[in-house]
Each structure stands twice: as C-alpha cells, then as structure tokens.
C-alpha cells in the first residue's frame, strides 16, 4: 500500500487510514475495515465502514441507524468494542463494533445480519490523513509536538525531500509523521544491494529517510504498528534504544563489524531532532569522529526540544564545548483566533449571541425617553387609580390590586417588546450584522518547549584546503 499520507488515492480505501472529521478539533482516526459489520460510533451517530469505503475524500457522510449490530444484545445500543480482526489498529482509537465471539467469522454468520439505514440526522466529513490532522487526532502517549513547533523545526533544520533525519524520543509520533512527509522523495528500491547503495545514500537521487529512536519499548511497539499501518515503513526506521547510552549508529556498539561507518548502519543524517529529557547526554554521539551517524559531506543541523531552562543551559554549554556553531534558542508562540460577530444594541436584548446594551448614545437616550414615558404613563394611571379608589373607598383590597396591576402593566410592555424583537429578528440577517471581532481561543498553549538549534559544519582538513587552493 502506498501511504495515504503521501500518495492518497482519490477515495477512501479499505485497509488504510481515513479521518472522520466530526467537528473542529474532534477527529476520529479510522482504519477502514472491509468487514460489513465494522462501525464507528460517535456522538454524531454511527458510521459503518462499508458506507465510507470508496467515498471521495472530503465528502460529507451521513450517519446510519444500525440494527442487529454484532454484540448488540437486543437493547438497540451497539456495544463499543474493539474487533479482534482490527487488532493491529487499536491504537487508531476507532471504536469498532465487534461481534460477540470476538472477530470469529462463524460468529458473524450465526448472528442476525446487521441492518443499516440512513439516520436522518448527524453527519461527518471524511478526510485524507495529513500530519497536521494526525497530530490533532493521534492517541497521546507522551507530550505531542504540535504543528507550529514541528513545522518550524523542520524548516530550521532544512529537512527537504531526500534529507535524512534522526529523531530521538519518537513519543507519540507526530514529529515522525511530519518528518516522513518532509523527507519523502520516493521509496528506496533494493537498498540491500552492495556497492550501489553507498552512492545512493549520498549522491544524487538519494532517498529521504527518518531514523527514529524510542527508549520506551511499549511506546515503540505502538508507534511501529502505526507506521506500518500508515504505509510509512519504507521511510521510517524505528529502533528501540536509549540513544544517550548507545548512540545513533544502528547495530550494537560492542560489535565492531556493525558499528563501523558502514552505510547500512550509519544513518548518514543531515538533521537531528532530540526530544529527550537530557539531550546533552546524547550529544557526544553526534560528533564527526568515527563512527559517525552524521552526513560527512555537509553541515549537520540539530534541534533539541526541552520544556525547561535548565535543560537548555546544559545543552548549550555542551554544544559549545563540542564545537557546534550557530547556536540559537527560541520559543515558538502560537495562538488560534476565534472570529465572531459582536452584535450590540437594544434590539439584541433577547437574542442569543447578542449584547443588549445600547449600541450608541442616541439609542440609549431613545430608550431612556421611552422608559420615562412609559413610567409617566404608569404613574399617571396609578394616580388616576388611587384617585378613583379614594373617591370610591375600599382600602386593603385596592392596595393589593394596585401592586399587581402595575407589575402586569410592566410585564406586558416588556413581553410585547420582546415578541416584537423576536419577530423582527426572523427577517434580519444576523450572520451579516454586528462588528467582526477576533480574539485568542479560550485554551491557549502558552509554552510548549524551548528549541535549541545548532549547526556542525563538515570537517575541513588542511589537505582539503590545499586541494581546493590548487583547484581554484
């Protein structure tokens, strides 16, 4: 399968990843199953996988009513359960309804056939996966490197099609996916071949690769499943290892035959991204000394991603000692903005989303006049009433009636105004009214991490210099 991240087919295909966009920031990753009983249950309804397969990307898809869903014990509510069959993709977070016998084909036969019909309410959008959407929807295992950070890191590290990048601390895999897209320039064919491989890894037509390291084994296994399921296996080499101890050259450090500068084991990296608790401990493995995981023919760029200043200080001190240059430290500050229309005015008083304050001074004056007039009228009535009462007699009874009557009076005028407003609002185009305003979204990530960047120029010997002096 080609990766749906890199070369998505024009429509959703069985056996690959698709994203069900339910609402903003609520995206459900689905590994589409060819099984007719595979279901995605969401708060916006059920989406049988069979109704999503073959649908063009970006389509609005309707939710279905599902009868006799496998595992459904006649209650009408389908139980959420992970299918045995889709085991490899449990990490997708898809809520796939499984049959009671846990994916046993015979079990399906025995049960009543599942029936689906369009529900009439509820829909979602079916989107092709991108690293950005995946970052929003992936199952969190560690702190995630979000788009503003990883986009900037990949830009500063000059990761381009054909580059090789080392990533240590793969974590939840958001950076892994983004860097796989950035380095992708085709899949390597016959990498194992001797001789030609070396040229390919360095020269023209070099294929981009991601060498990813994770020291937490269960996390590594989960990520490996995802990478395989997403068709990125040909680009990403994931290794379970503590890079601070063992370095970045593949093969074991103790075995001299595999830890030499063999191109099959040395990543030959152009860029390094370290998302580690103690990145300074890994730096000693990133020297130009043999065996080096670095690309010997060019400047190598490094980024470390640390939340705390103490980590930054230690990292930078070590970088300076090891001869890295162009050392900079930045933080990326990102904001998302809400845009809405702010409708202000007396007419908004009873409407949703409006602010019932006078929109200007004249409106305030107008309303004051109106209220004053109403009050005067009420007062005049009251005076007239009490005069009538005085003339007619009957104290206590009249007193009660007076209070009640005045309140009613007031209420009716308010209700009247309200009804009138609601009636008017129906013909108003509220979506065009008011002032367009924007503000930072309620949840604002004010700090992710400090980013340290550095460059290690290629080695340049006296001999090199002399050669070029002659040449030029």
């Amino acid at each position: 399968h080609p990766s749906p991240f890199l070369t998505p087919p024009p429509s959703a295909q069985a056996g690959t990843l698709a994203l069900l966009h339910l609402r903003r920031d609520h995206i459900l990753p689905l590994h589409l199953s060819p099984s007719p009983t595979a279901l995605a249950n969401t708060r916006f309804g059920s989406f049988p996988h069979s109704t999503l397969i073959g649908v063009p990307w970006g389509s609005q898809v309707l939710s279905y009513n599902v009868k006799n869903a496998p595992g459904d014990r006649g209650s009408g509510v389908s139980r959420k359960r992970k299918r045995g069959e889709g085991e490899g993709n449990q990490a997708q977070g898809a809520q796939v309804a499984g049959d009671a016998e846990n994916g046993d084909g015979e079990g399906e036969q025995r049960e009543k056939k599942m029936e689906i019909s369009i529900a009439g309410t509820g829909f979602a959008h079916l989107l092709p996966p991108t690293p950005e959407l995946w970052t929003q929807s992936l199952p969190h295992r560690t702190q995630v490197v979000y788009t503003p950070d990883y986009s900037f890191v990949l830009s500063r590290l000059r990761v381009r099609p054909g580059s090789t990048i080392i990533e240590a601390g793969a974590g939840s895999g958001s950076f892994t996916h983004a860097s796989a897209r950035a380095v992708f320039n085709g899949y390597e064919n016959g990498r194992k071949e001797e001789g030609s491989t070396g040229e390919d890894r360095r020269g023209k037509g070099r294929k981009g690769r991601v060498f990813s390291f994770e020291f937490h084994e269960p996390r590594k296994e989960k990520l490996q499943e995802e990478i395989d399921a997403h068709g990125l296996g040909g680009l990403v080499t994931l290794t379970h290892r503590d890079v601070c101890e063992e370095g970045f050259c593949l093969g074991t450090a103790t075995d001299p035959t595999t830890s030499n500068n063999n191109l099959d084991t040395a990543p030959n990296a152009d860029a390094i991204f370290l998302d580690l608790p103690a990145p300074w401990l890994a730096l000693k493995h990133l020297s130009r000394r043999h065996p080096t995981p670095l690309n010997p023919t060019q400047s190598v760029r490094l980024c470390t991603f640390s939340p705390c200043m103490e980590q930054v200080t230690k990292t930078i001190n070590t970088l300076r000692e090891l001869g890295w240059v162009e050392i900079t430290m930045v933080e990326v500050m990102h904001k998302r903005l809400d845009v809405r229309r702010e409708r202000v005015g007396v007419a908004e008083e009873n409407l949703r989303g409006g602010i019932g304050v006078p929109k200007d001074v004249s409106e305030a004056v107008r309303r004051l006049r109106e209220v004053t007039r109403e009050r005067e009228e009420a007062q005049a009535k009251q005076i007239a009433n009490s005069r009538r009462r005085r003339e007619g007699g009957g104290g206590g009874e009249g007193k009660g009636r007076k209070g009640k009557g005045g309140g009613e009076e007031h209420m009716t005028s308010r209700m009247h105004r309200r009804e009138k407003m609601l009636r008017e609002a129906e013909s108003r185009k509220l979506y065009r009214e008011g002032r367009l305003v924007h503000r930072t979204e309620p949840d604002w990530k004010t700090h992710t991490s400090y980013l340290v960047f550095a460059v290690l120029p290629r080695e340049w010997t006296v001999e090199d210099e002399e050669r070029y002096l002659v040449k030029w």
Partner: protein, 621 residues
Amino acid sequence: MNSCIEPDTYVILRLPSEQLRIVEVKPDTLITIPKLGSFPTNLIIGRPFHFTYELHERRPDEPFSRLRVVPANELHGDALSSRDDAPDGVDDGSDEPETGAQFDIVADDGSVLMRNNRLTVDDASRQHLTHEEIEELKKVGTGSGIELIKTIMASHAALGEKTEFSLAKYTLRKSRKYLKRFTILPLDVTNLAESILEREAPKIMELREETVALACAWSNAHWSEGTGEEMTGRWLVIDDSGGLVVAALAERMGILYEDKTVELEDGDDGAPNEADANPDYTADTTRGTEPNEQQPNEANPAGETPNGHSTPRKPPRPRPDGLPLNRSHPAAMSATTNTLTLLHPNHQPNIGLLQYFGYDNSAPVSSHPLYTHLRTVSWLQLLHPSEDPTYIEPDVVSEDTLAAMKSGKRGNYYRKRRRWQRVKAVVDETRGGGFDGLVVASFTDPKEILKHTVPLLSGGAKVVMYSPNVEPLTEVVDLYSKERKAAYLELKREPETKTTQNGGHPESHDDDAEKEMDADFPVDPMLLLAPTLQTVRVRDWQVLPGRTHPMMTSRGGAEGYVLTATRVIPHSGAVEARGNASKRRKTEASAGPSEVDSDAGIEARAKRGKLETGSEMEVEV
C-alpha cells in the same frame, strides 16, 4: 546544496552586525564587504558552509585580504570562559589556550566581587580614545579587529567599574562594530527571506520563517510521485510576495534546487578522510601561500583562470528565447505530477526571487526542475481564456508555405505553435481543477480569490491563506461561519421552485435577488470545512551563563496570520446530490443488507436539511 559553496551561485554573508548580505560567487572575482575589506571569491568556492572567516591583514602588494577560519572554540570563547558552573570570578579566563584570540579583557579585571552599577558614570569622556584616533587605528589595520577592540577597551577609564553584564554588552557592541569577521550561509528560502525582511519586508509581505513554515505545513505540500496516468501532487498558488511562497512550496516539493552535486564532487570527494579524524575543523590559518596560484581581481574579469585549470563549472547559459536547448528536453510546464500552478494578475508572473535559485522566469533554463514543474496562468486565462491571444490557436500553415518561408519566420511560426500548445494545455488543465491544495498570499480581495479557486480543488484539499493583517482573514472566516452556513441551507431549501441546480448557487429570476444573494453569500459557504485562523511568532533568547533572557528588542511590523481550511464536498449540494458520490455510497451500503433505496436517500437528505437548521443543528464551522 548544503554541502559546499558552488561557483555561480548565491550565498549569504552574515556580518558581525548580524546583517545578512547576498553575494554572488563568481569565480576569479573579488567580494567586497564595505568597511571590512575584500577577498577573492576563489578562497571560498568549494569550501563548506557555516564557517566563520576572519579577514587577514592586507599585504602591501595585494588589493585584497586573505582569510582565516575562526574555530568554534574561539567563537564561543566568551561563553565558555564564564560558565556558570564555574565558581564565580575564579575562572577568569586566564587558562584559555590562545590568549591572543580571546577577549580576555572581559575577564582580565577578574574581580571576585559582584559589581553593580551604582557608581558607574555614563559619559563619553570616559573613553579616552577619540573618534579620530580610532579611525587612525583602523587604517593602520590590525587585521581581524581584535587588537583594535582591545585597545579601545583598554582606553576606557572605568572598565573596572562595569558590571559583568554591562561589560559583556560593551564588548559585544564593540565587536559588532570593529570585528572583521563574516559567516557564510547557504542561500535557501529561509535565509533569503531573512535577509529581505531586514531591508524591505513589505516586498515579501513580511513573511517570517515561522509563518511560512506553518503555512506550508498546513498546505500539505510535499513531494509526490505519479501513480500511473493520473496527475497527482498539484498545488495552486497565488503569490504577491515576489516568489517567496512559490519558492517555499517548491523547496518542500523538491523542485527548487538544481541538483548539481554530481558535477561538483569530482570522484568520491565527499568521503570522510579516515586518516584525519580530528573533530576540530581548524583548517590552516593562512591561505594562498603561493601568490601566483590565484590572482583574481577586477583586472581579469573574464574569468580566465591564470593557472589554466579547467574546472568543471558550468554556468547555466539559457537560450534567449527560453526554449528547450534541444528536442530531447521536456517541454516547459510539461510535468504532470508534483507541480505548482501559479495564478497571477499580470501578463507575466512576478516571481523575481526565484532568480536566486537559478530560475529566471523570462529565460528559464530547461535543466531547472521549475522549468517543467511550475506552471503559470493569468486570471484572464483562467476565467476568460478566449480573450487571451496566446490561448487562441495560430493559423496552421501548409507544409509548402512553410518550406518557402525564411528560416527565421519558420522558427517564429513553430515557436508560436508551441507556445499555444503549452498555454492551451496548462490553462485547460488548470480549469479542469482537481488540485490538492491552495496557498494564497495576496493583497487581492480573498472573497473573489476563493470564489474562483475553491471549486478547482479536489475534496480533502487544503486551503491556506496568509495575510499580514488579520482583518481580511476574519472576513473569510465569517463567510464560512456556522450562522451563514445555516442561513444558506435554509435559503436553498426554501425557494425550491426558483432554484435551478446550477453550480450550487440557487439562481433567482430577478436581478435584485441575485445581487442580494451575491452580497450575502459571495462564496458557497458549504465548500470549506473548519476554517481556522492562527498566528505564530518565534521569540529569540540569549543564552549565556548567568545572562539568559529573551531578546530585548525584535522586529515589529505585521503580525502575520494564517487561515487554514479543508475543501469538502457537501452532501446535499445541488452539484452532486444524485451524482457519483452518493450512488457509489449506496452500492457500497448495499453490501450490508440495507433497505436504502434512492428515494429514501433523497427523503432523508431533505429531512436532514430541515433538522439541520433547527436548534439541534450540527453544522460544522
């Protein structure tokens, strides 16, 4: 292209003042840096990037200076000598190996006490050297400028009174002014943008690196590989930044740089030298020991190397007519996958910045990837192709007449035919739509841009709009607001009798209603999903032992905003209500024993429309 400095390319020099200067690396010439001096280009050709060089003292018989690579430990001398884990004041730098190269003035006064600035007198009179004397010292020319800085510092009467912090600042200020150093950086999109931002930010719409990075990430632009005959990996771009956005996208799609590495790396040049595993790249400090080796100067501008070395450099020489050099080359704009289509408002696109990457739009080199992968279409060609003369087929001339023509005229005829073929193919393909993404950085009204381009996108395609200011983008978000979508659906449902199923826009019989419709819904609000407005800014920090803090000042100007959204295919849209999408879905659905027939489907859709506009609405914003 990160490997080494190639001849006939551009590089960026970073000066001590942090200024970036673009220079062309023309072999056998001199590069002159005002106030610093000049040096022969040949001394940097073939050398690695990111080296910091120091200009040597000029020899009396030479009009230029020689270079010395400043090793990293010298660059970091200041920071390393005042490590904060060293006991305060004890580590005064006296144990530095090369005292000559260090600013040991900083630490020479080595007082153990933590000073404060209570008693400092800030007055120019405290510097005993006069301006004239400094100028004199500069003329005498003490090479790197370090000596000069030392002299200046030594002449400051109250250096001892300065706190560690103010002393560091003072040293830095003087270094920036007098140090004769520069660092060579590769000219890539980021560095180019950085250097333009300094001088003429509006030219590139004040696009900062982080904003470009964010926009490009969301655009999902990446290298794409062809899958058979289908055209894949096509991005639509509108660019008022002089080509910066095109360059940034092309960089991510792997079509910006010409791959010249093979030509330059003669043999296995780049292999690491196993014999010399010295991790310090301290090259020899003096260069050009034999003066006759290289005598490049203005007197010999023709570029003839005196020593007769025939070097494998191939300066690209485009044909003036911009046509392929020979038939075996692919035609311009002919790539079908991994392409950028630039929509431009003038007859010729304004993408001048691409010249720094070896691509000149008026005379493109056929070996450059952009030659085949960048297509340009004007708004007129897109919207009214028949009004564009280049789109109209030139008359076909019979073979006989052709044979009788003069060669120049015949060539002209063929050129016109070829241009027409190219324009027609590109325009038709663009109008055919199916793009994978749209990236807009333009001052043109976004409403109109979206109106004409969003329908050209395939489902799931990403839309990214950049604006230096937020207001144009808030308007766009508002055009796709939840409330507007609801009103649009309502409107489409109501005048069922008046609505024709045409382009998704309910057409009204009377003109006023149509105008009102256009004013209310300039774009079909159902075509974009989840428009999100964001802004990003990078804050630089100074990290020095005991002196870590964010930078005190940085560039202001436009904040820069990015809008992202996804092109979707609305289900109830008039376009595809009974089209392939829903039909295919139904056949798939029938795999399960569904009782859905087409009538029920339509009914359900109608019902949904009603429910959607109710209070339990789930319209996506």
